[in-house]
Symmetry: C2
Subunit: 436 residues, 2 copies
């Protein structure tokens, strides 16, 4: 079956992935002379930096998700299809997806990265990742359900398992989740669950190396450590998790920690796509590209964002897998691709590091700018502003802003709802049966 | 197992159900001398009148759901448990739930009603009901997914099946869903799905009797009919649906209509609970109560809201199963119960019909007040105001208001997201496997 896209005089550019990289590129080229087909497995773009706030009941999924179709309502040569791409046929210049095949003139892989369980299937099965809105929502439901269960659990150990949480990985996600959980314990739990002894709630953050927020400055690492321990988080450095059996987290030094929920934020690995030769791949399952994001060995196939591995003078080990790189690469490719098509000389990509930041909770964040590093209240204000500004859609910005203001003033998140869309229809059937 | 609620000198009132009736009663008695245990299968109260807006991507589930714990944060003798109640043991004065048993001194059943499939299991299995936020969200996802699928469906009949919708039942839910779908067809689809021929989208509303909005005035019925047909809805009166095989809706007169999605809003029936004698039950699976909402045959067990069947002079056939009755009964019982406990004389309940209303779309609604009936723009303004005012929580009101204003000004709903919380962990596992 062939995906039904109108034939056109224009050359066809297929972009796989509607994350920061793919979406930015499609926007840049929306008015170009190319027919653009944007493919994603979801019908929305998701704003990864705020997943943890969805998981902590601070934001609604819709506030940080943006329908792809809305972005391109006025772009007549952009076509969107919701599907999973399975394979590239580089010989025939076509891709194979779950809804059919599609030929391309130019192909851009912006397929991003997913949680890395380092091949450990038990960890993959039993721990909770946080690389999508759906996973964040799953975590929100799991946390709230376990607090409810804890109320009816008399056994001390079992209750500890329900209310304690282990977070593996001290990068931005791990640090932000730990901070938000600590604040939930401090401000929300005592009000919502008067019958629970909130002192019993333990939040463990385990980091394999000797500092948090690796990749940021030592000032940032140390402040994050201080902020988290001040909030009562049990931060353990140099602790390697070897296994999780669903009840206990096992570490390399032989200790074990009881927890029914383990959040796995210990690393990412590139999403797989079949059909590329081994020579195009490198470690972390990333795709080797040159300074024009062209995949090694191909003229008309490109990779951008987390999945791409490009080295330049300042980054001999490749760029960090962050939103800024994805956006900058997409913008550059948006300029280079029309040049390449017209046989003009493209300009090589060079990453301009604008800095990085992470927030730990109320009034607490760490910011590393190229020439200035600071932590605390002002950093927190900057963090809020930058993230608000980066969101797509005026309405999303408005809703996130009101939510933040509300939560700030009331010391409360009001989204503590365990809502799941009905999945199967058995319930109605049972209901009907019961009435017969 | 016994549900772990602190023992107390106070008499214990157990309320089953956190809908309009149960929640209102718990609020009224929160400061009384009773220990109150509120049980619901969800951890939130849901605002039923706006379910259809969730299904139509106009509102977020969280905007019309309110966490029960938040309501009672400052009520020290109100205890909340999330569970399904299975049985009442009226001999031992205790209830049995999925998390254990619980003794009561007084019991109030506010268990409400669910969709009535009239014993037809195939309808129960294949059609989509709309009696919970979860079901509304399921419908939203189904509609959006089918539009996506339609883009890749070349066969005309199959495509019709995906984009056409049949709504069975011309009560408020059916009318409001039909109106909202018609507006989506008119304002949103042409922008989001330029490649679809929107004229192909058919919305069928089938009503078994000879008028819409049965129970409202003939002016309201006729205006609703006119508003809907003006919007392009195919309204069919006196049509009885006999079956739905997943592809075709079959009606009593032998016609059949192709549609992959059939919304079933043709009636409700009381939720079941085991342990009550047959003599306490009446038609529609409702529970017979006297004018003090006492269940026939019991002194300390009450029923309020949709599940209760009470007759009074003006309502020899029982009250309509609407929010107003539920709220008024709860308020009255909130006053009567302390009197009954203190052996004072309670006052009999009498329903004060404040009127009813339904909205059909932009600028179109019908309102029946006791002394005044009107339709159109002003009715629509009244509908908006009343529903906004009835929502629980200042933040919910604010968010619904902004959403409405936004949608009104932009002719657009921006929640067209197909988001599901991750259910199982197979996906991560597969991902992990793929990397090995």
């Amino acid at each position: 079956m062939i995906i039904n896209i109108p034939t056109s005089q224009q050359k066809r550019l297929v972009i796989i992935g509607g994350g920061f990289a793919g979406l930015t590129l499609a926007q840049k080229l929306a008015k170009s002379d190319l027919q653009i087909v944007l493919l994603d497995k979801n019908n929305y773009h998701q704003f990864q930096p705020l997943f943890y706030q969805v998981a902590m009941a601070g934001l609604e999924p819709s506030s940080i998700s943006f329908p792809l179709r809305k972005t391109f309502q006025n772009s007549k040569n952009v076509f969107i299809r919701v599907t999973e791409v399975e394979e590239v046929d580089t010989q025939k210049n076509e891709i194979h997806t779950s809804i059919g095949s599609l030929a391309y003139d130019y192909l851009v892989l912006a397929i991003g990265a997913d949680t890395n369980f380092f091949g450990n299937e038990r960890l993959a099965e039993k721990t909770i990742p946080m690389k999508s809105v759906s996973e964040a929502l799953f975590l929100r439901n799991a946390i709230l359900e376990d607090y409810e269960k804890a109320l009816s659990t008399a056994n001390y150990d079992d209750r500890q398992g329900l209310i304690d949480i282990v977070i593996v990985g001290g990068g931005p996600t791990g640090v932000e989740v730990a901070g938000a959980l600590a604040e939930m314990k401090k401000y929300v739990l005592p009000k919502d669950y008067r019958e629970l002894d909130c002192d019993e709630v333990d939040i463990h953050l385990l980091q394999g190396s000797d500092c948090l927020l690796k990749g940021m400055s030592s000032e940032a690492s140390e402040s994050a450590y201080k902020f988290l321990t001040d909030l009562g988080v049990d931060v353990k450095l140099n602790v390697r998790v070897t296994d999780y059996d669903g009840e206990y987290v096992h570490t390399k030094d032989g200790t074990k920690i009881r927890a029914d929920k383990v959040i796995w934020a210990a690393g990412i690995t590139g999403n797989k796509i079949k059909g590329l030769p081994k020579e195009s791949m490198t470690w972390g399952n990333r795709i080797l590209v040159n300074r024009f994001n062209q995949i090694k060995g191909f003229e008309n196939i490109y990779a951008i964002g987390d999945i791409a591995f490009m080295t330049e003078e300042a980054y001999p080990q490749g760029h960090p897998q962050v939103a800024q790189v994805a956006i900058q690469q997409a913008k550059k490719l948006g300029k280079n691709l029309p040049k390449i098509i017209q046989d003009k000389t493209p300009k090589p990509f060079s990453y301009n590091d604008l800095g990085s930041m992470a927030t730990i909770g109320r009034h607490r964040a760490v910011v590393d700018l190229p020439k200035w590093k600071f932590q605390g209240f002002f950093a927190w204000m900057i963090w809020l502003g930058v993230h608000l500004f980066q969101l797509i859609g005026v309405k999303n910005r408005l809703f996130v802003f009101i939510n933040w203001l509300w939560n700030y003033l009331t010391y409360d998140q009001s989204l503590r709802l365990i809502i799941r869309p009905k999945v199967k229809k058995e319930t109605s059937l049972e209901n009907s049966k019961a009435q017969n």
